[in-house]
């Protein structure tokens, strides 16, 4: 910090705390983040080779490395991004309770009306 210089130990901890909060979210292409905070991986479908809302080379969904229906779970359970499915964390914890296997049972998943 430039305008506040930490003098005692508590001030140093406050400084570290603030610096850590800054390192939380930043643009990788701008070289952000302290070296201590690297390596830094984004979370979500793009890193775990889930198909995403994608198509295969033939324009369908049959040739994807995982069944396309799995995306329902990637978006519903693990993703922090507000996706096109109901959210598991707060409002619809039971949305997929009738769907034991996504590829077979996806028709059991109902619409929701927020």
């Amino acid at each position: 910090m430039k305008h506040l210089k930490a003098i005692n130990k508590k001030a140093q901890r406050i400084e570290q705390h603030i610096a850590a909060a800054h390192g939380d979210i930043y643009a990788l292409q701008q070289g952000g983040g302290s070296p201590a905070a690297r390596p830094h991986y984004p979370v979500g479908c793009s890193i775990v080779f889930s198909p995403g809302w994608e198509v295969d080379s033939a324009g369908g969904t049959a040739g994807l490395c995982q069944p396309a229906e799995r995306d329902l779970y990637d978006c519903y359970v693990t993703c922090y991004w507000p996706a096109q499915v109901p959210d598991h964390y707060n409002n619809y914890p039971d949305w997929t309770s009738k769907c034991a296997s996504a590829t077979k049972d996806w028709r059991n998943i109902d619409l929701v009306f927020p």
């Binding site: 210089k5 930490a6 003098i7 005692n8 130990k9 508590k10």
Partner: protein, 482 residues
Amino acid sequence: MTATVTPLSLGEFHEFRVESVDFLYLVPSGGIFAVSPAGRQAILLLREQPLAADELLAALIDRGYAKDDAEEAIRELFEARAIRDPRGHQDLPQEPVADFPLQSLVLNLTNQCNLSCQYCYEFGEDKVATPDGKPKFMSETVAKASVDHLLASSQGRRAIHITFFGGETLMNFPLLKWVVHYALGKAKEAGQYLDFSLTTNGTLLSPEIIDFLVEHSIGVTVSMDGPKEMHDALRVYANGKGSYDILAPKVKSLIQKHNTRPIAARVTLTQQVTSVKEIFHHLRNEFGFAEVGFAPVTAAPKRLYTIENNNMDRIFEQFKELAVEYRDWAIAGRMHGFSNVSDTLAELHAGINKSHPCGAGLGLVGVGPSGDIAPCHRFVDSDAHALGNVMEGGLDKGKQKEFLDKGHIGAKFDCHSCFARPLCAGGCHHEAFVRYGDTGHPNLHFCDWIRGWTDLCLNIYGEIAVKNPAFLDQFEQRKPLQ
């Protein structure tokens, strides 16, 4: 539609300025920062009136600060909570966890004393102890149970501590010896580091005792009130005879031989004994005490020895002179020995922010000859304040909680707007009980003194930080005292 922008206002801090550097002592956290001119200007502007962030920015730019600089200053002050959204609530320290491990045990080896100091809190007019029908000397059985209690309740602590107290501690020296051997063995088994200290009036020291204290690195604090005529004013035997001549050669011999721990003197100031500087230099130079600490007597108002207001002011002036002497020594890299200053600096350096004024009933308990557990040595033998008994089930968690809830800073509304609360937290529970009949009452009769002292020590801390920061390194490891 009109957008409403919340204006910024000042957070809670105490400002001080040393050697043209501006400092902020952030009260809710205990952090001490030096602030830049731009940051200081932002504070001055907000002190005049609350401003929205862009208004504040414009005002800073108006005063010649570059936009980037001004923005950064505002952001940093905001992040450190020196300025804030006025809707922010007040930050007070949280309750400590319920199973806070014990760190220190004070063993009152006896409630008997060979002196009859008139102001004594244990026997005097304001005593809280109710010793009738209880043993006068602690037995090995009770001492053993107490040590076992400490070990069982201090799990997770690497270092633990036992302090011997009285009455006059050395009237039960055989038990002291026994406890040292027993407890060291137990602590070794548990893999904990254990050290000892004791407080004594010095009159019963003998070569044998001194050797034992040296051999086991037992820290010693001697209660002494200064040169002969001051010391003998109130620290007397039952027949009224002063104790200075008896203890002086013994204490000198202790200080000469005891090279394993620094020896400290603890002075009680009363209406009769107020010459702080003279007492300090006598004890430091004539005796060679490493540290000398002072405390005003705890007493109800209007006792003969209770310090009256004009005298408190006089004492504060002397504290100040002595503290300034400490500062000059520190800047020159020398150890002064006025422990009231070093204790406060240690707490400021850590940036401590207390939920309770001291460790009493929390990390520290006192045990009396009967085995009753008290919040600290000063409450020992008092039925009204007992928190259980080491022989009968140990610490009573319910009573402990009640005591701690009362003493928590959150319950002391008078303190919520006070900048000295991170260190004071309302002050000594025992003092509060004697003055107000309630251990949880803030010690309002001392506020001016405490705030003056805190401000003084902040200034000294700031000046040392500017001129000789290496001096502060000694506080890195030092545990703030009780």
